[in-house]
Symmetry: C2
Subunit: 350 residues, 2 copies
């Protein structure tokens, strides 16, 4: 998983700013009909015709959001795009363009930036979004990536965090908790590697968890899946900070409460095994893990029949009146208040 | 010009991520009719109706693009917005929204971020743009600001770098070179301050130059001025890297050459005095200084009468066939090839 250190190295200072930007962006293609002009002028020009424009931005900082010791640069580029597209998907909108700004210290050779950019370009291709602008500059220390994602939607389709009512059902796509445990596995391997650099880890039993951490995907398909089911979600958010935290966001902004059922939370079998191995409570991981980039949304009660058998979605609870608060109903049928604790809370508990 | 070091300091870690973002963004108002939803959801939602959307992004890094020793945080916030809006203006478009991402190390207290944000909010108010999104995170070292600016324009109004013909006139707004000399003055004061921290500098003779460096403005008015003159520019760019470099961009992208007349370059009287004092060649400063954020554009020859007497604009040359190249015609009537040298070149020459 570590970078090949024997590659050729070209110093960034030998390129010059314009040379570097030209070099990194020369293969970028434009595919979206809404992109009138991409990179190469003072600004990009987009035409969304009668649709609404949706915009989100995120910054990833080395040492804060990622560790290059176990995050290959190509994966990092891919993930940086995905986490931004996930925000557009969480508006029930379709991502169409991104801008990419990178600040990088001199310790990175050109080849490292090329790796990073190849991951960014790959994500743009997979998600069919155009790279329409950006900036590449030097940093005093480390690598910083700032991405702005742009999308489009019909006004009637756009789904905010506000909009859930106290009789709605709570639904999540995919499964949760795996990305967090992937990071735990990688952390353990990093410690092993420090002690014995020649150890070749066998990570097959953890492949799903590691992929969820290193190469997450944005649920661009959910908008289409819901459209096919003829369901208009009432409120929606993506799971970046953890299921518990995101449920509380929806409750707060929609002025409702919630009952979340522990036995309904979707968990991958590999996650179940690895939580046992690590002796970590799986519900704690599922509630607070974060970085799953699944979509959490509410639907009207009468849409229950349309969605209940769909393998892409799990109905995990229902909204309540605001005064009832937000609770987890455990397997033992006890009621525990939901808290937004995030990753640090899990670590403190260990 | 230095920050007051006696202010109260609140540590960022005591705020928590959500608390910090809420605190910094709580006073942000929405004024643009195209902003349907600003900060507070996964993404902002904009409605440009039948207009085109224009997008540009820029990253400013401490120690690379600015020095907090003489750049007050409020000015820095203001300038970070302005340099991005300038790119939108350089498309002959109207800036309407921005997103702001900030990475900051723990050495900055909350009050420092508030100063920075107050400058950002002030610029947003002056330029009538809405702050519709952003991200605030920690950095390993220093301060990094990434801003994405969004604007709107009728398709017919949008002006690219491509579009100049070999008979067009070359026009610049305002005057050039002052921002660079402002930085030279500040550099000199910084050295004096190091030797004698009690020295109170009298900077009145340099006020225009310093203001051009610390508080530049984007020429949002040029679009309206040209509309009133019934002039549609054929190509346009903003002056961030220096007049010479930007002329060469226009020439390259429009496939034309250029004759620039030394005696036509607009210079502020204060710049003339200070270049004498510093014993620096003023044309070198005007050509390579950069950071003026004036607009450089080409117009059709028949628009000459409409613009010639306008105090906002100077006709500084004319385009030629590409094969003739890009040249400066000096006061002594000699012809020198234009080179894109930028600031470093000026410093090397000293």
């Amino acid at each position: 998983m570590l970078e090949d250190k024997n590659q050729e190295r070209t110093s960034l200072s030998s390129m010059g700013e314009f040379g570097l930007i030209d070099h990194l962006t020369k293969d970028i293609e434009i595919n979206q009909p809404s992109t009138l002009k991409g990179i190469g002028d003072d600004a990009a020009v987009l035409d969304f015709k009668d649709k609404r424009t949706v915009i989100s931005t995120d910054m990833l900082v080395e040492g804060v959001h990622f560790d290059l010791a176990y995050m290959p640069l190509k994966h990092l580029g891919y993930k940086a795009v995905v986490v931004n597209l996930s925000d557009i998907c969480a508006m029930n909108a379709k991502p169409t363009q991104i801008t990419v700004s990178i600040a990088v210290s001199n310790r990175f050779p050109l080849e490292a930036l090329e790796e990073l950019y190849s991951g960014i370009r790959h994500a743009a291709k997979v998600y069919d979004v155009d790279i329409v602008g950006g900036d590449t500059t030097s940093s005093q220390k480390g690598l910083i990536i700032s991405i702005t994602a742009i999308g489009e939607a019909e006004e009637a389709d756009i789904t905010y965090r506000v909009g859930a009512t106290d009789t709605d059902l709570l639904v999540v796509s995919g499964d949760v908790g795996a990305a967090y445990m992937g990071l735990q596995v990688l952390d353990r391997e990093k410690e092993v590697f420090k002690v014995n650099p020649n150890n070749q880890p066998d990570l097959e039993a953890y492949d799903y968890l590691i992929e969820r951490q290193l190469k997450p995907e944005a649920r661009k398909d959910v908008k289409e899946l819901l459209k096919a089911l003829e369901i208009q979600p009432t409120a929606m958010i993506d799971i970046s900070d953890g299921l518990s935290s995101e449920i509380l966001h929806l409750c707060k902004q929609s002025n409702v409460g919630c009952n979340l059922y522990e036995d309904k939370i979707p968990l991958d079998p590999q996650l179940i095994n690895v939580c046992e191995e690590f002796n970590i409570d799986i519900t704690t991981v599922a509630l607070n893990g974060g970085e799953d980039y699944e979509l959490l949304f509410t639907i009207k009660m009468e849409d229950f029949e349309k969605i209940k058998a769909n393998p892409n979605f799990s109905i995990i609870g229902h909204m309540t009146q605001e005064s009832e608060g937000a609770h987890l109903i455990t397997r033992a049928n006890t009621k525990i208040a939901l808290k937004a604790r995030g990753w640090n809370a899990i670590n403190d508990e260990e």
